[in-house]
Subunit: 336 residues, 2 copies
């Protein structure tokens, strides 16, 4: 049997197969390895010059760093130039202004994110925070997206050394717009944050709760689009990742290490994407965003890519999920 479940934030629907108990699996595709990894310490000269680093010692572009941020060598958006909007007949375009960066998460050659220490993951999160704060000072930038592609089937580049991608955009992504407007509508109706309500319900119901610690809760969302989809939320309401404090970073690092290790154990090192869903850059249109502090709540999604999307997903924007989130949460819990 299947259920059609609505994602109440984005108004998309997912057809969930509630019967199947076989974990879906794609044939494995390996990274194509190269002899010398440009992301390893000592090979800094093989990459563009760093835009940011957390270092214990050493000069710019030399060894001594713990986390290093560089421009993407194949950038899809470039810094510099004015934000130009123009029409092409009935169509609209914006010049490709923005930024494409890579966050190298460790000086050592580590492939799996969960093999980083909690302290190191904390430094990666601090690098995220610093880059967002810096890029939000540029009012041409409307949104900073930070994400990870783990393994080729999740769109990873040929470089296996653990890293995150950052793309700063001159427009707010439609998925974020949907979340912002869904959250705003709910707040206007209920005068409560929709994410806070979800946290409360998931902790009470417990069937999709994977674990929680003092500051974070880790669940498999009700309308999971993918088998073993994960949602990580700060328990205390906050609209912006950049406001996270030291204790928050510590608990988030702990949560990320634990869930990505468990996921890897249970589903055999699956390809996945990790996506930081932060608020937009509020600086260019502060008036417009005046309710956002109350109605939006930042969060992290982890989406394992265990099956291929078909014409159904492309044609509808809906998803078919052949492994129910309640089952996924139970399996994850018993392997923590």
């Amino acid at each position: 049997m299947s259920e059609v479940r609505r994602d109440i934030i984005t108004d998309t629907w997912v057809i969930v197969d509630t019967e199947n108990d076989k974990i879906p699996k794609l044939p494995r595709i390996e990274y194509s390895r190269s002899d010398r990894c440009p992301f390893c310490v000592g090979n800094e000269a093989q990459t563009p010059s760093e835009v940011f680093a957390i270092r214990e010692q050493g000069p710019r572009d030399g060894p001594g760093w713990q986390v290093r941020v560089i421009p993407n060598i194949n950038p899809i958006l470039k810094a510099g130039g004015e934000l130009m909007k123009s029409g092409v007949g009935v169509y609209d375009k914006v010049s490709g202004v923005g930024a494409s960066e890579v966050i190298i998460e460790s000086p050592e050659h580590i492939v799996n994110f969960f093999e980083l220490s909690e302290e190191q993951i904390g430094l990666v999160l601090e690098a995220y925070r610093q880059r967002i704060l810096t890029l939000h000072r540029d009012q041409r930038i409307r949104y900073v997206l930070i994400f990870k592609n783990h393994r080729p089937q999740a769109g990873a580049s040929t470089i296996e050394h653990t890293h995150s991608d950052l793309i700063a955009l001159p427009a707010i992504p439609i998925r974020i717009k949907q979340k912002l407007s869904g959250a705003k509508e709910y707040y206007e109706f209920k005068e409560r944050c929709i994410f806070c309500d979800i946290i409360k319900q998931e902790i009470e119901m417990a069937d999709r709760l994977v674990f929680q610690n003092e500051r974070f809760v880790v669940i498999t969302p009700y309308a999971s689009r993918f088998p073993f989809e994960i949602l990580i939320l700060p328990k205390e309401h906050s609209h912006s990742f950049s406001l996270i404090d030291e204790g928050g970073i510590k608990d988030l690092a702990k949560s990320l290490k634990r869930i990505s290790k468990t996921l890897s154990d249970v589903v055999d090192d699956p390809p996945y994407n990790l996506i930081l869903n932060d608020c937009p850059n509020l600086f260019p249109r502060a008036d417009y965003w005046k309710t956002i502090k109350a109605d939006f709540h930042w969060h992290i999604e982890i989406t394992p890519r265990l099956h291929r999307t078909t014409g159904f997903e492309l044609g509808t924007g809906f998803y078919i999920n052949r492994y129910a989130p309640e089952r996924a949460a139970a399996v994850l819990r018993s392997n923590l």
Copy 2:
């Protein structure tokens, strides 16, 4: 350089690399073949009993058919049962009522759609039309999606014998909702159909025009999400595929054969999805849809899957397209 282009119908953005001239390519994955194809004539007993067929002769579930429609053996939605909406705390669900069918496009074992004769493609289109008309009589059905998954990387099943999928849904897909509301807004503002305006502009500008015949136009859309994305539109305004007449079917069959053959020649038999974007079932809420005849215009999308989607697409709903549609149209035109 890149441009950020807006899809004016759905309000999504695509970052188009306007410089790259190398056609992207994924490593090829073959179908896993089985000895006996259940879709071939003579093997009807290996499939569920047909729900519809176009036959020259013979009884139900026997040979003599030209196009055969069967229930999907692994249905994600089942016919029968009431449409039940219910709440789960803050969440909503609908019971999984609908239909999952497979349209077998030829009695012979043909793998590539374009190898079918124009007459045979016409019969396939007639089967689409008949199934839509029949399923629209059921007011629990809100949308009938017909699509093709060609090759494994486009989500094809293990069966290589050319076929289409049909899923009848109890909710209108968000992508269709976006198109309906984009088209409606444009009509309210301009009192013209947005698709008719696009057709006019593309024929005039000609840089994204692949070809046209009497009744159809084939273009690479301005905000193409994928390299070699194709859009096929009837030149004469029509909100519903089911209103197509004999001449229309003939010209559409001719267009589909020609574009899928050329695509296969140019990009080496790529994985692709084909999606029929039809109007929703108007029967359950006729009043609500009273402007749809003027503002919506049915169309077919073909989306080659030449690269993997990453956390960027998942996190934003935006796309990165590394091969400009103007280049794709030029290459296709010179290989017609």
